[in-house]
């Protein structure tokens, strides 16, 4: 039996991300990084969907979404 767990995760709209890295330091769990200077990437294993990064992101390209 598998239980479906709903989780909240940060999801980056990478096409509009300006790679400014403002999200990196606000994440206490170090779950978000800027990959190769191109866009931010979330480590889904670490992210708890707290939304700190989304609030900080000056381009507002991070959304907190429910994932399974």
């Amino acid at each position: 039996m598998t239980k479906i767990r709903k989780n909240r995760k940060a999801v980056v709209n990478q096409g509009d991300c300006v790679a400014c890295g403002c999200c990196i330091k606000v994440c206490v769990l170090k779950a978000i990084k800027v990959e190769k200077g191109l866009f931010a990437k979330v480590d889904e294993d670490k992210c708890v969907g707290c939304g700190l990064c989304a609030r900080e992101c000056p381009a507002s390209v991070i959304e907190i979404k429910e994932v399974e």
């Binding site: 990196i24 200077g37 000056p58």
Partner: protein
Amino acid sequence: MKKKWYDYLWIVSLIYLILGFFNILFAWLGLLCFFIPLYIAVTKSTKDYCGYYCGRGQLFSLLGGKFGLSRKKDIPDWMKSKAFRYGFLIFFFIMFFVMLFNTYLVFSNAQDLKQVITILWTFKVPWSFAYQGTLLHPGVAQFAFGFYSVMLTSTILGLITMILFKPRSWCVYCPMGTMTQFICKLKNK
């Protein structure tokens, strides 16, 4: 989270801005904010300068965050569009080269040193109080006045968008940020 040494670089940015009111020649140090991010982007193909070291970004997040000087609203869509970001980068560079040309004119003695700071590429503010002469050529001072104008203008724009939108809104259209991302795009093809 434990603070690292580079979390205090906002102090350097602040001191830089203050020094320009006392001796304009310190403006030359601002070249570091140009060459370090470019060096990191070209050699490491990352934007680690933005993510970890940029003192200007830290200053905005401090003023807009801890000091609450920001409405923390979303930036309008057009400001984060590629057209605006790259358009602003090009405009910024054209104005930068105009500044370099004026410096050249002073170096070649075709023009006299103008002790003014130009804010927002338009408003000329007398700035002779921060100039006590130089042992070098007046062109050295002309570059300092020009470069400090660039730095002050971008700080003012950054402060305006910090107040109106999110603290680090400047980072969305910062020419250095756009340019380093562009370099990373080319290099990480």
